[in-house]
Protein backbone atom coordinates (compact mmCIF):
# COMPACT_ATOMS: atom_id res chain seq x y z
CA UNK A 1 0.00 0.00 0.00
CA UNK A 2 2.77 2.33 1.04
CA UNK A 3 4.66 1.64 -2.13
CA UNK A 4 1.89 3.27 -4.10
CA UNK A 5 2.34 6.61 -2.36
CA UNK A 6 3.55 9.24 -4.76
CA UNK A 7 4.13 12.96 -4.45
CA UNK A 8 2.84 15.66 -6.74
CA UNK A 9 5.53 18.19 -5.97
CA UNK A 10 8.49 16.12 -4.96
CA UNK A 11 10.99 19.04 -4.58
CA UNK A 12 9.14 20.17 -1.46
CA UNK A 13 10.49 17.08 0.28
CA UNK A 14 13.91 18.75 0.09
CA UNK A 15 12.63 20.89 2.96
CA UNK A 16 12.30 17.81 5.16
CA UNK A 17 15.52 18.44 7.15
CA UNK A 18 13.77 21.55 8.47
CA UNK A 19 11.65 19.35 10.74
CA UNK A 20 14.73 18.93 12.92
CA UNK A 21 14.73 22.65 13.72
CA UNK A 22 12.70 22.32 16.92
CA UNK A 23 15.25 19.82 18.23
CA UNK A 24 17.99 22.43 18.12
CA UNK A 25 17.71 23.89 21.54
CA UNK A 26 18.63 27.49 20.79
CA UNK A 27 15.29 28.96 21.62
CA UNK A 28 15.23 32.69 21.41
CA UNK A 29 12.14 33.06 23.50
CA UNK A 30 13.83 31.68 26.62
CA UNK A 31 14.09 34.30 29.33
CA UNK A 32 17.57 35.11 30.48
CA UNK A 33 18.21 34.38 34.11
CA UNK A 34 21.24 35.15 36.24
CA UNK A 35 21.83 31.79 37.81
CA UNK A 36 19.69 28.80 37.00
CA UNK A 37 21.02 26.89 39.97
CA UNK A 38 18.68 28.96 42.08
CA UNK A 39 15.69 27.55 40.20
CA UNK A 40 13.97 24.36 41.23
CA UNK A 41 14.23 21.17 39.19
CA UNK A 42 10.88 20.57 37.53
CA UNK A 43 10.20 17.42 35.50
CA UNK A 44 6.81 18.79 34.42
CA UNK A 45 8.54 21.75 32.79
CA UNK A 46 10.77 19.35 30.86
CA UNK A 47 7.78 17.36 29.63
CA UNK A 48 6.09 20.56 28.52
CA UNK A 49 9.17 21.56 26.56
CA UNK A 50 9.44 18.16 24.87
CA UNK A 51 5.76 18.30 24.07
CA UNK A 52 6.37 21.66 22.43
CA UNK A 53 9.24 20.26 20.41
CA UNK A 54 7.25 17.24 19.37
CA UNK A 55 4.30 19.38 18.29
CA UNK A 56 6.55 21.74 16.38
CA UNK A 57 8.28 18.83 14.65
CA UNK A 58 5.00 17.21 13.67
CA UNK A 59 3.64 20.55 12.46
CA UNK A 60 6.61 21.11 10.20
CA UNK A 61 6.42 17.53 9.00
CA UNK A 62 2.73 17.82 8.15
CA UNK A 63 3.18 21.12 6.37
CA UNK A 64 6.08 19.90 4.27
CA UNK A 65 4.51 16.57 3.43
CA UNK A 66 1.21 18.33 2.78
CA UNK A 67 2.90 20.76 0.41
CA UNK A 68 4.57 17.92 -1.43
CA UNK A 69 1.09 16.61 -2.21
CA UNK A 70 1.12 12.97 -1.24
CA UNK A 71 -1.42 10.63 -2.71
CA UNK A 72 -1.98 7.03 -3.65
CA UNK A 73 -1.06 6.98 -7.27
CA UNK A 74 -3.43 5.84 -9.96
CA UNK A 75 -3.31 2.08 -10.17
CA UNK A 76 -4.79 -0.66 -12.23
CA UNK A 77 -5.81 -3.78 -10.44
CA UNK A 78 -6.04 -6.92 -12.53
CA UNK A 79 -9.24 -8.71 -11.79
CA UNK A 80 -10.32 -12.06 -13.05
CA UNK A 81 -13.98 -12.61 -13.44
CA UNK A 82 -16.17 -15.02 -15.25
CA UNK A 83 -18.23 -13.90 -18.14
CA UNK A 84 -17.78 -11.58 -21.03
CA UNK A 85 -17.62 -8.06 -22.20
CA UNK A 86 -21.19 -7.53 -23.13
CA UNK A 87 -22.22 -4.55 -25.17
CA UNK A 88 -25.97 -4.17 -25.03
CA UNK A 89 -27.36 -2.47 -28.10
CA UNK A 90 -30.92 -1.61 -27.33
CA UNK A 91 -33.63 -0.41 -29.62
CA UNK A 92 -35.18 2.68 -28.12
CA UNK A 93 -37.60 3.54 -30.83
CA UNK A 94 -41.29 4.17 -30.25
CA UNK A 95 -42.27 0.62 -31.18
CA UNK A 96 -40.50 -0.56 -28.04
CA UNK A 97 -42.96 1.41 -25.94
CA UNK A 98 -45.74 -0.86 -27.12
CA UNK A 99 -47.06 -3.59 -24.87
CA UNK A 100 -45.68 -7.00 -25.27
CA UNK A 101 -48.56 -9.28 -26.02
CA UNK A 102 -49.21 -12.58 -24.42
CA UNK A 103 -50.46 -15.68 -26.12
CA UNK A 104 -51.38 -13.86 -29.24
CA UNK A 105 -53.93 -11.59 -27.54
CA UNK A 106 -54.17 -8.28 -29.26
CA UNK A 107 -54.22 -5.35 -26.85
CA UNK A 108 -55.83 -3.20 -29.50
CA UNK A 109 -59.09 -5.12 -29.40
CA UNK A 110 -60.65 -4.58 -26.01
CA UNK A 111 -63.93 -6.33 -25.28
CA UNK A 112 -64.58 -5.04 -21.78
CA UNK A 113 -63.37 -2.56 -19.23
CA UNK A 114 -61.71 -5.32 -17.22
CA UNK A 115 -59.66 -6.28 -20.22
CA UNK A 116 -58.56 -2.70 -20.59
CA UNK A 117 -57.42 -2.51 -16.97
CA UNK A 118 -55.60 -5.79 -17.41
CA UNK A 119 -53.89 -4.41 -20.48
CA UNK A 120 -52.84 -1.27 -18.58
CA UNK A 121 -51.18 -3.46 -16.04
CA UNK A 122 -49.17 -5.09 -18.75
CA UNK A 123 -45.67 -3.93 -19.34
CA UNK A 124 -44.20 -2.40 -22.40
CA UNK A 125 -41.50 -4.26 -24.28
CA UNK A 126 -39.06 -1.78 -22.92
CA UNK A 127 -40.04 -2.46 -19.30
CA UNK A 128 -39.82 -6.19 -19.76
CA UNK A 129 -36.52 -5.91 -21.49
CA UNK A 130 -35.16 -3.66 -18.76
CA UNK A 131 -36.26 -6.12 -16.12
CA UNK A 132 -34.66 -9.03 -17.91
CA UNK A 133 -31.40 -7.15 -18.47
CA UNK A 134 -31.43 -6.05 -14.82
CA UNK A 135 -31.65 -9.68 -13.87
CA UNK A 136 -28.67 -10.41 -16.09
CA UNK A 137 -26.71 -7.64 -14.40
CA UNK A 138 -27.35 -8.90 -10.88
CA UNK A 139 -26.69 -12.47 -11.93
CA UNK A 140 -23.36 -11.68 -13.53
CA UNK A 141 -21.82 -8.75 -11.74
CA UNK A 142 -18.31 -9.69 -12.89
CA UNK A 143 -19.09 -9.02 -16.53
CA UNK A 144 -18.24 -5.74 -18.08
CA UNK A 145 -21.13 -3.99 -19.71
CA UNK A 146 -21.58 -1.18 -22.12
CA UNK A 147 -24.94 0.20 -23.11
CA UNK A 148 -25.77 1.74 -26.45
CA UNK A 149 -29.25 2.94 -27.29
CA UNK A 150 -30.30 3.60 -30.79
CA UNK A 151 -33.28 5.02 -32.61
CA UNK A 152 -32.68 7.55 -35.33
CA UNK A 153 -29.11 7.88 -34.02
CA UNK A 154 -26.88 5.89 -31.72
CA UNK A 155 -26.29 6.95 -28.12
CA UNK A 156 -23.38 5.42 -26.29
CA UNK A 157 -24.78 5.70 -22.77
CA UNK A 158 -22.04 3.94 -20.84
CA UNK A 159 -18.58 2.83 -21.70
CA UNK A 160 -17.43 -0.60 -20.66
CA UNK A 161 -17.57 -0.77 -16.89
CA UNK A 162 -17.74 -3.41 -14.23
CA UNK A 163 -19.77 -1.18 -11.98
CA UNK A 164 -23.19 -2.61 -12.63
CA UNK A 165 -24.90 0.19 -10.72
CA UNK A 166 -23.86 2.55 -13.52
CA UNK A 167 -25.32 0.24 -16.14
CA UNK A 168 -28.42 -0.23 -14.05
CA UNK A 169 -28.83 3.52 -13.74
CA UNK A 170 -28.41 3.88 -17.49
CA UNK A 171 -31.04 1.23 -18.03
CA UNK A 172 -33.39 3.01 -15.65
CA UNK A 173 -32.81 6.26 -17.45
CA UNK A 174 -33.90 4.73 -20.74
CA UNK A 175 -37.39 4.47 -19.28
CA UNK A 176 -37.96 8.17 -19.49
CA UNK A 177 -40.13 9.51 -22.29
CA UNK A 178 -40.95 7.90 -25.60
CA UNK A 179 -38.56 7.22 -28.38
CA UNK A 180 -38.80 8.59 -31.90
CA UNK A 181 -40.33 6.38 -34.56
CA UNK A 182 -37.27 5.90 -36.72
CA UNK A 183 -34.89 3.03 -36.24
CA UNK A 184 -31.33 3.17 -37.46
CA UNK A 185 -29.89 -0.13 -36.36
CA UNK A 186 -26.76 0.15 -38.50
CA UNK A 187 -25.48 3.18 -36.60
CA UNK A 188 -26.23 1.54 -33.26
CA UNK A 189 -24.27 -1.54 -34.23
CA UNK A 190 -21.35 0.47 -35.59
CA UNK A 191 -21.21 2.54 -32.40
CA UNK A 192 -21.15 -0.64 -30.33
CA UNK A 193 -18.40 -2.13 -32.48
CA UNK A 194 -16.44 1.08 -32.19
CA UNK A 195 -16.54 0.77 -28.40
CA UNK A 196 -14.53 -2.43 -28.68
CA UNK A 197 -12.01 -0.82 -30.97
CA UNK A 198 -8.56 -0.46 -29.44
CA UNK A 199 -9.31 -2.45 -26.30
CA UNK A 200 -7.12 -5.34 -25.37
CA UNK A 201 -8.78 -8.66 -25.75
CA UNK A 202 -9.38 -9.80 -22.19
CA UNK A 203 -12.40 -12.05 -22.51
CA UNK A 204 -15.08 -13.05 -24.89
CA UNK A 205 -16.87 -10.17 -26.53
CA UNK A 206 -20.54 -10.06 -27.10
CA UNK A 207 -22.85 -7.58 -28.75
CA UNK A 208 -26.36 -8.16 -27.55
CA UNK A 209 -28.66 -6.58 -30.07
CA UNK A 210 -32.19 -6.14 -28.75
CA UNK A 211 -34.82 -5.08 -31.20
CA UNK A 212 -38.40 -5.71 -32.20
CA UNK A 213 -37.92 -5.32 -35.87
CA UNK A 214 -35.50 -5.45 -38.69
CA UNK A 215 -33.78 -2.72 -40.51
CA UNK A 216 -32.57 -2.17 -43.95
CA UNK A 217 -28.82 -1.89 -44.01
CA UNK A 218 -27.14 -0.57 -47.09
CA UNK A 219 -24.12 -2.26 -48.57
CA UNK A 220 -21.63 0.18 -47.07
CA UNK A 221 -22.87 -0.30 -43.51
CA UNK A 222 -23.15 -4.06 -43.99
CA UNK A 223 -19.51 -4.15 -44.99
CA UNK A 224 -18.46 -1.99 -42.03
CA UNK A 225 -20.39 -4.16 -39.59
CA UNK A 226 -19.09 -7.36 -41.07
CA UNK A 227 -15.51 -6.16 -40.97
CA UNK A 228 -15.78 -4.61 -37.52
CA UNK A 229 -17.26 -7.72 -35.94
CA UNK A 230 -14.64 -9.91 -37.52
CA UNK A 231 -11.70 -7.71 -36.69
CA UNK A 232 -12.67 -7.36 -33.07
CA UNK A 233 -13.75 -10.98 -32.75
CA UNK A 234 -17.18 -10.16 -31.42
CA UNK A 235 -20.02 -12.61 -31.06
CA UNK A 236 -23.42 -11.31 -32.00
CA UNK A 237 -26.63 -12.22 -30.20
CA UNK A 238 -29.83 -10.96 -31.70
CA UNK A 239 -32.75 -10.92 -29.34
CA UNK A 240 -35.74 -10.50 -31.53
CA UNK A 241 -38.87 -9.42 -29.73
CA UNK A 242 -41.98 -10.44 -31.62
CA UNK A 243 -44.24 -7.51 -32.18
CA UNK A 244 -47.23 -9.37 -33.52
CA UNK A 245 -48.41 -12.88 -34.27
CA UNK A 246 -47.36 -12.21 -37.79
CA UNK A 247 -43.72 -11.82 -36.92
CA UNK A 248 -41.53 -14.42 -38.54
CA UNK A 249 -39.92 -17.10 -36.44
CA UNK A 250 -36.28 -16.37 -37.05
CA UNK A 251 -35.09 -19.48 -35.28
CA UNK A 252 -36.69 -21.50 -38.03
CA UNK A 253 -35.67 -19.27 -40.86
CA UNK A 254 -34.43 -20.80 -44.04
CA UNK A 255 -37.17 -23.36 -44.41
CA UNK A 256 -40.55 -21.76 -44.67
CA UNK A 257 -40.25 -18.08 -43.82
CA UNK A 258 -40.75 -15.37 -46.37
CA UNK A 259 -37.38 -13.87 -46.97
CA UNK A 260 -38.55 -10.47 -48.14
CA UNK A 261 -39.25 -9.29 -44.60
CA UNK A 262 -36.75 -6.86 -43.08
CA UNK A 263 -36.16 -9.04 -40.03
CA UNK A 264 -35.43 -12.08 -42.14
CA UNK A 265 -33.10 -10.14 -44.38
CA UNK A 266 -31.23 -8.95 -41.33
CA UNK A 267 -31.10 -12.43 -39.88
CA UNK A 268 -29.76 -13.76 -43.14
CA UNK A 269 -27.10 -11.10 -43.25
CA UNK A 270 -26.04 -11.86 -39.66
CA UNK A 271 -25.95 -15.60 -40.35
CA UNK A 272 -23.73 -15.00 -43.30
CA UNK A 273 -21.17 -13.18 -41.20
CA UNK A 274 -17.93 -14.88 -40.27
CA UNK A 275 -18.57 -14.56 -36.52
CA UNK A 276 -20.51 -16.47 -33.93
CA UNK A 277 -24.13 -15.52 -34.31
CA UNK A 278 -27.24 -16.65 -32.55
CA UNK A 279 -30.78 -15.44 -32.63
CA UNK A 280 -33.22 -15.62 -29.75
CA UNK A 281 -36.87 -15.22 -30.38
CA UNK A 282 -38.81 -13.70 -27.50
CA UNK A 283 -42.55 -13.44 -27.70
CA UNK A 284 -43.38 -12.59 -24.11
CA UNK A 285 -41.57 -11.67 -20.84
CA UNK A 286 -40.96 -15.30 -19.95
CA UNK A 287 -39.39 -16.18 -23.24
CA UNK A 288 -37.29 -13.01 -23.13
CA UNK A 289 -35.96 -13.97 -19.72
CA UNK A 290 -35.29 -17.44 -21.05
CA UNK A 291 -33.40 -16.03 -23.99
CA UNK A 292 -31.18 -14.02 -21.69
CA UNK A 293 -30.66 -17.04 -19.45
CA UNK A 294 -29.42 -18.90 -22.46
CA UNK A 295 -26.93 -16.17 -23.23
CA UNK A 296 -25.85 -16.24 -19.60
CA UNK A 297 -25.13 -19.94 -19.83
CA UNK A 298 -23.09 -19.59 -22.97
CA UNK A 299 -20.82 -16.70 -22.16
CA UNK A 300 -19.10 -17.93 -19.02
CA UNK A 301 -15.44 -17.97 -19.92
CA UNK A 302 -12.82 -16.46 -17.59
CA UNK A 303 -12.42 -12.75 -18.13
CA UNK A 304 -9.29 -10.83 -17.25
CA UNK A 305 -9.52 -7.12 -17.01
CA UNK A 306 -7.74 -4.22 -15.39
CA UNK A 307 -9.68 -2.03 -13.04
CA UNK A 308 -8.51 1.54 -12.88
CA UNK A 309 -8.36 3.03 -9.39
CA UNK A 310 -7.97 6.80 -9.62
CA UNK A 311 -5.35 8.77 -7.70
CA UNK A 312 -6.34 9.76 -4.17
CA UNK A 313 -4.85 12.93 -2.80
CA UNK A 314 -3.94 12.89 0.88
CA UNK A 315 -2.43 16.36 1.14
CA UNK A 316 -5.54 17.92 2.64
CA UNK A 317 -5.35 15.56 5.61
CA UNK A 318 -1.79 16.60 6.24
CA UNK A 319 -2.68 20.27 5.99
CA UNK A 320 -5.66 19.87 8.30
CA UNK A 321 -3.50 18.09 10.84
CA UNK A 322 -0.90 20.85 10.48
CA UNK A 323 -3.60 23.38 11.24
CA UNK A 324 -4.72 21.50 14.34
CA UNK A 325 -1.11 21.12 15.48
CA UNK A 326 -0.54 24.84 14.95
CA UNK A 327 -3.55 25.53 17.13
CA UNK A 328 -2.14 23.32 19.87
CA UNK A 329 1.22 25.07 19.57
CA UNK A 330 -0.45 28.45 19.95
CA UNK A 331 -2.32 27.22 23.02
CA UNK A 332 0.89 25.92 24.54
CA UNK A 333 2.78 29.10 23.71
CA UNK A 334 0.05 31.16 25.32
CA UNK A 335 0.93 29.58 28.65
CA UNK A 336 4.55 30.63 28.25
CA UNK A 337 5.85 33.57 30.25
CA UNK A 338 7.43 36.17 28.01
CA UNK A 339 8.78 38.55 30.63
CA UNK A 340 9.58 38.75 34.31
CA UNK A 341 6.80 41.16 35.20
Amino acid sequence: MLANISFDKLPFLLLLPLVLLPLISHRRDALSYSWTQLLPQDPVGKYVEWLWRLLALLTLLSIIVGLAGPGRSETHIERIGKGAEISIVMDRSSSMDAFIHRNGANPGKLTSKQDYVAVRKQMSKNDVLREALGWLLTKRPNNRYALTLFNSAAMRVTQFTDDISIVQAALDASDIGRGPSKTNMGRGLLAAIEAFEGRSYSGSRVIMLVSDGGAKLDAKIREAISEGLKRNNISLYFIYIESSPNSPNLELVGTEVDSTLEEVALHKFFSGLDVEYQVFQAADPESLTKAIQRIDEQQNLPLTYLERIPRTDYSQWFLISAMILCGLLVLLSMTQRVNWQ
Binding site: S34, W35, L39, D42, R337
Partner: protein, 288 residues
Protein backbone atom coordinates in the same frame (compact mmCIF):
# COMPACT_ATOMS: atom_id res chain seq x y z
CA UNK B 1 21.90 59.74 37.23
CA UNK B 2 19.97 60.50 40.36
CA UNK B 3 21.11 62.72 43.18
CA UNK B 4 23.78 60.91 45.17
CA UNK B 5 22.58 59.67 48.50
CA UNK B 6 24.90 59.83 51.44
CA UNK B 7 25.57 57.09 53.93
CA UNK B 8 27.82 57.11 56.97
CA UNK B 9 30.43 54.59 57.70
CA UNK B 10 32.73 53.87 60.57
CA UNK B 11 35.47 51.36 60.73
CA UNK B 12 36.54 49.19 63.62
CA UNK B 13 40.03 49.63 65.02
CA UNK B 14 42.38 52.43 64.00
CA UNK B 15 42.54 52.09 60.24
CA UNK B 16 43.51 55.62 59.30
CA UNK B 17 46.63 56.74 57.51
CA UNK B 18 48.53 60.02 57.63
CA UNK B 19 46.09 62.24 55.80
CA UNK B 20 43.62 63.93 58.13
CA UNK B 21 40.17 62.55 57.87
CA UNK B 22 37.26 61.15 59.81
CA UNK B 23 38.58 57.88 61.11
CA UNK B 24 40.52 57.00 64.19
CA UNK B 25 44.19 56.38 63.50
CA UNK B 26 47.47 55.87 65.20
CA UNK B 27 48.90 59.04 63.69
CA UNK B 28 49.77 61.76 66.14
CA UNK B 29 48.47 65.20 65.45
CA UNK B 30 45.67 67.56 66.23
CA UNK B 31 42.79 65.53 67.45
CA UNK B 32 40.47 64.91 70.32
CA UNK B 33 41.71 61.63 71.71
CA UNK B 34 44.61 61.83 74.14
CA UNK B 35 47.59 59.61 73.39
CA UNK B 36 50.43 60.43 75.81
CA UNK B 37 52.66 63.12 77.29
CA UNK B 38 55.91 64.25 75.81
CA UNK B 39 58.70 66.54 76.87
CA UNK B 40 58.35 70.11 75.67
CA UNK B 41 61.79 69.73 74.13
CA UNK B 42 60.53 66.89 71.92
CA UNK B 43 57.16 68.43 71.13
CA UNK B 44 57.58 72.20 71.20
CA UNK B 45 53.89 73.02 71.45
CA UNK B 46 53.38 75.22 74.56
CA UNK B 47 49.62 75.46 73.86
CA UNK B 48 49.19 71.83 74.94
CA UNK B 49 51.32 72.23 78.05
CA UNK B 50 49.86 70.09 80.87
CA UNK B 51 50.68 71.88 84.15
CA UNK B 52 49.29 69.23 86.48
CA UNK B 53 51.16 66.43 84.77
CA UNK B 54 54.35 68.53 84.74
CA UNK B 55 54.09 69.15 88.48
CA UNK B 56 53.59 65.44 89.12
CA UNK B 57 56.51 64.50 86.97
CA UNK B 58 59.38 62.99 88.90
CA UNK B 59 62.03 64.25 86.52
CA UNK B 60 60.63 67.79 86.66
CA UNK B 61 60.24 68.10 82.91
CA UNK B 62 57.66 70.23 81.19
CA UNK B 63 55.16 67.82 79.66
CA UNK B 64 53.03 68.44 76.65
CA UNK B 65 49.84 66.50 75.76
CA UNK B 66 49.95 64.58 72.52
CA UNK B 67 46.71 63.66 70.68
CA UNK B 68 45.79 61.19 68.03
CA UNK B 69 44.76 62.66 64.79
CA UNK B 70 41.61 61.49 62.90
CA UNK B 71 42.76 60.29 59.52
CA UNK B 72 41.34 59.38 56.20
CA UNK B 73 41.22 55.90 54.70
CA UNK B 74 41.33 54.57 51.17
CA UNK B 75 38.21 52.86 49.96
CA UNK B 76 38.05 50.39 47.10
CA UNK B 77 34.91 49.30 45.31
CA UNK B 78 35.33 46.03 43.43
CA UNK B 79 32.40 45.41 41.12
CA UNK B 80 31.37 42.16 39.50
CA UNK B 81 30.43 42.97 35.88
CA UNK B 82 29.75 39.42 34.74
CA UNK B 83 26.74 38.45 32.65
CA UNK B 84 24.57 37.67 35.64
CA UNK B 85 24.95 41.23 36.88
CA UNK B 86 23.27 42.45 33.70
CA UNK B 87 20.12 40.67 34.71
CA UNK B 88 17.20 42.52 36.23
CA UNK B 89 13.46 42.60 36.02
CA UNK B 90 12.93 46.34 35.71
CA UNK B 91 16.48 47.67 36.14
CA UNK B 92 19.59 45.64 35.73
CA UNK B 93 21.57 44.95 38.86
CA UNK B 94 24.45 46.94 37.44
CA UNK B 95 22.22 50.03 37.40
CA UNK B 96 21.57 49.54 41.10
CA UNK B 97 25.32 49.19 41.57
CA UNK B 98 25.83 52.50 39.75
CA UNK B 99 23.51 54.15 42.26
CA UNK B 100 25.58 52.72 45.06
CA UNK B 101 28.89 53.75 43.48
CA UNK B 102 27.57 57.25 43.07
CA UNK B 103 26.53 57.38 46.70
CA UNK B 104 29.84 55.88 47.74
CA UNK B 105 31.79 58.56 45.91
CA UNK B 106 29.77 61.31 47.53
CA UNK B 107 29.95 59.78 51.01
CA UNK B 108 33.68 59.20 50.70
CA UNK B 109 34.19 62.79 49.69
CA UNK B 110 32.16 63.92 52.70
CA UNK B 111 34.31 61.73 54.95
CA UNK B 112 37.45 62.99 53.25
CA UNK B 113 38.40 59.56 52.05
CA UNK B 114 39.89 58.48 48.74
CA UNK B 115 37.87 56.03 46.71
CA UNK B 116 38.88 53.84 43.76
CA UNK B 117 37.15 51.40 41.45
CA UNK B 118 38.06 47.94 40.16
CA UNK B 119 35.95 45.47 38.27
CA UNK B 120 36.11 41.77 37.39
CA UNK B 121 34.28 39.02 35.65
CA UNK B 122 36.31 35.88 35.09
CA UNK B 123 39.39 38.00 35.49
CA UNK B 124 40.15 41.61 36.40
CA UNK B 125 38.70 44.11 33.94
CA UNK B 126 41.30 46.68 33.00
CA UNK B 127 38.86 48.92 31.17
CA UNK B 128 36.83 49.60 34.28
CA UNK B 129 39.37 51.13 36.63
CA UNK B 130 39.86 54.25 38.65
CA UNK B 131 42.73 54.78 41.09
CA UNK B 132 41.76 56.07 44.54
CA UNK B 133 40.84 59.74 44.40
CA UNK B 134 39.64 62.24 46.92
CA UNK B 135 37.96 64.72 44.63
CA UNK B 136 34.30 65.60 44.76
CA UNK B 137 33.37 64.04 41.44
CA UNK B 138 35.02 60.69 42.06
CA UNK B 139 31.68 58.94 42.48
CA UNK B 140 30.27 60.35 39.26
CA UNK B 141 33.40 59.44 37.33
CA UNK B 142 33.31 55.90 38.68
CA UNK B 143 29.63 55.41 37.91
CA UNK B 144 30.11 56.74 34.39
CA UNK B 145 33.11 54.50 33.76
CA UNK B 146 31.07 51.57 34.94
CA UNK B 147 28.03 52.49 32.82
CA UNK B 148 30.04 53.11 29.68
CA UNK B 149 31.88 49.83 29.80
CA UNK B 150 28.92 47.65 30.62
CA UNK B 151 26.51 48.80 27.95
CA UNK B 152 26.86 45.56 26.05
CA UNK B 153 25.93 42.48 28.04
CA UNK B 154 28.69 39.93 28.04
CA UNK B 155 28.42 36.19 28.45
CA UNK B 156 31.41 36.08 30.80
CA UNK B 157 31.17 34.34 34.08
CA UNK B 158 31.94 35.96 37.35
CA UNK B 159 34.38 34.01 39.48
CA UNK B 160 36.33 34.28 42.68
CA UNK B 161 39.54 34.02 40.68
CA UNK B 162 38.59 37.27 38.96
CA UNK B 163 38.10 38.80 42.37
CA UNK B 164 41.46 37.45 43.44
CA UNK B 165 43.01 39.16 40.38
CA UNK B 166 41.64 42.45 41.67
CA UNK B 167 42.93 41.79 45.16
CA UNK B 168 46.44 41.46 43.81
CA UNK B 169 46.14 44.88 42.16
CA UNK B 170 45.31 46.60 45.44
CA UNK B 171 48.00 48.31 47.42
CA UNK B 172 48.39 47.63 51.08
CA UNK B 173 46.90 50.99 51.88
CA UNK B 174 43.25 50.16 51.27
CA UNK B 175 41.33 49.98 54.50
CA UNK B 176 37.77 49.50 53.37
CA UNK B 177 36.90 47.21 50.45
CA UNK B 178 33.40 46.85 49.07
CA UNK B 179 32.90 43.57 47.20
CA UNK B 180 29.90 44.21 45.01
CA UNK B 181 28.55 41.10 43.35
CA UNK B 182 25.55 38.78 43.23
CA UNK B 183 27.91 35.98 44.32
CA UNK B 184 26.29 33.61 41.84
CA UNK B 185 29.44 31.56 41.81
CA UNK B 186 30.96 28.64 43.70
CA UNK B 187 32.25 29.77 47.09
CA UNK B 188 34.93 27.10 47.60
CA UNK B 189 37.95 29.40 47.54
CA UNK B 190 36.27 32.26 49.38
CA UNK B 191 38.44 32.13 52.50
CA UNK B 192 41.63 32.13 50.42
CA UNK B 193 40.48 35.14 48.43
CA UNK B 194 39.44 37.03 51.57
CA UNK B 195 42.88 36.39 53.02
CA UNK B 196 44.45 38.11 50.00
CA UNK B 197 42.89 41.36 51.11
CA UNK B 198 44.99 41.34 54.28
CA UNK B 199 43.78 43.48 57.11
CA UNK B 200 41.30 45.52 55.15
CA UNK B 201 37.74 45.72 56.34
CA UNK B 202 35.69 43.87 53.79
CA UNK B 203 32.05 44.65 53.14
CA UNK B 204 30.42 42.16 50.75
CA UNK B 205 27.43 43.76 49.09
CA UNK B 206 25.17 41.08 47.67
CA UNK B 207 23.14 42.55 44.85
CA UNK B 208 20.06 40.56 43.97
CA UNK B 209 17.06 41.41 41.89
CA UNK B 210 13.45 40.86 42.99
CA UNK B 211 12.86 38.89 39.79
CA UNK B 212 15.52 36.43 40.86
CA UNK B 213 14.32 35.94 44.36
CA UNK B 214 10.57 36.07 43.90
CA UNK B 215 8.92 33.78 41.34
CA UNK B 216 6.29 35.23 39.01
CA UNK B 217 2.75 35.05 40.38
CA UNK B 218 1.03 33.65 37.32
CA UNK B 219 1.11 29.96 36.58
CA UNK B 220 2.47 28.79 33.28
CA UNK B 221 5.43 27.63 31.34
CA UNK B 222 8.70 29.38 32.09
CA UNK B 223 11.60 28.72 29.76
CA UNK B 224 14.83 30.08 31.15
CA UNK B 225 18.39 30.38 29.88
CA UNK B 226 21.32 30.92 32.20
CA UNK B 227 23.01 34.22 31.32
CA UNK B 228 26.47 32.84 32.02
CA UNK B 229 26.49 29.15 31.20
CA UNK B 230 23.69 29.24 28.62
CA UNK B 231 22.12 26.25 30.31
CA UNK B 232 18.39 25.90 29.98
CA UNK B 233 15.79 25.19 32.60
CA UNK B 234 12.13 24.52 31.92
CA UNK B 235 9.61 25.18 34.64
CA UNK B 236 5.90 24.73 34.87
CA UNK B 237 5.14 27.42 37.43
CA UNK B 238 2.73 26.31 40.10
CA UNK B 239 2.53 26.50 43.87
CA UNK B 240 5.00 23.70 44.52
CA UNK B 241 7.68 25.07 42.18
CA UNK B 242 7.19 28.53 43.62
CA UNK B 243 7.70 27.20 47.12
CA UNK B 244 10.80 25.32 46.02
CA UNK B 245 12.11 28.48 44.33
CA UNK B 246 11.72 30.56 47.49
CA UNK B 247 13.32 27.79 49.53
CA UNK B 248 16.32 27.70 47.16
CA UNK B 249 16.77 31.46 47.46
CA UNK B 250 16.67 31.46 51.24
CA UNK B 251 19.04 28.51 51.35
CA UNK B 252 21.48 30.39 49.13
CA UNK B 253 21.14 33.43 51.35
CA UNK B 254 22.03 31.44 54.45
CA UNK B 255 24.87 29.70 52.59
CA UNK B 256 26.36 33.07 51.68
CA UNK B 257 25.89 34.48 55.16
CA UNK B 258 27.51 31.42 56.66
CA UNK B 259 30.48 31.51 54.27
CA UNK B 260 31.19 35.15 55.14
CA UNK B 261 30.50 34.81 58.84
CA UNK B 262 33.19 32.12 58.90
CA UNK B 263 35.58 34.90 57.86
CA UNK B 264 34.14 37.27 60.51
CA UNK B 265 32.38 39.29 57.86
CA UNK B 266 28.73 40.22 57.63
CA UNK B 267 27.33 40.43 54.10
CA UNK B 268 25.02 43.28 53.21
CA UNK B 269 22.06 42.26 51.04
CA UNK B 270 20.77 44.75 48.52
CA UNK B 271 17.61 43.76 46.66
CA UNK B 272 16.32 45.81 43.76
CA UNK B 273 17.49 49.18 45.03
CA UNK B 274 20.19 50.81 47.12
CA UNK B 275 19.04 52.01 50.53
CA UNK B 276 21.67 54.29 52.18
CA UNK B 277 20.00 54.19 55.58
CA UNK B 278 20.28 50.43 55.75
CA UNK B 279 23.96 50.65 54.89
CA UNK B 280 24.54 53.29 57.57
CA UNK B 281 22.82 51.04 60.05
CA UNK B 282 25.00 48.15 58.90
CA UNK B 283 28.16 50.12 59.74
CA UNK B 284 26.80 51.30 63.07
CA UNK B 285 26.05 47.72 64.07
CA UNK B 286 29.43 46.55 62.86
CA UNK B 287 31.42 49.01 64.92
CA UNK B 288 29.41 49.31 68.09
Amino acid sequence: MSQAQEFFYKLPGTPGGNRPGAHRSRSVGSGMSFASHRKLIDQPDPRRLDLRASLRDVRRDWLVKVYRQNSSVTIQAIVDVSASMHFGGTRSKLKVVEDFINALGYSAFRHGDAVGLLAFDDKARDDIYMPPRTNRGAGITMAETLAENTQVATARKGSLSGLSDCASQLGAASSLVFLISDFHMPLNSLSAVIREFGGSTIVPIVVWDPSETRPPDKNGWLSVRDAESGRRRQLWLRDSTRKQWLANVSRRRSELTEAFTDQDIQPFFMEGEFNPEQLTQYFMEMVS
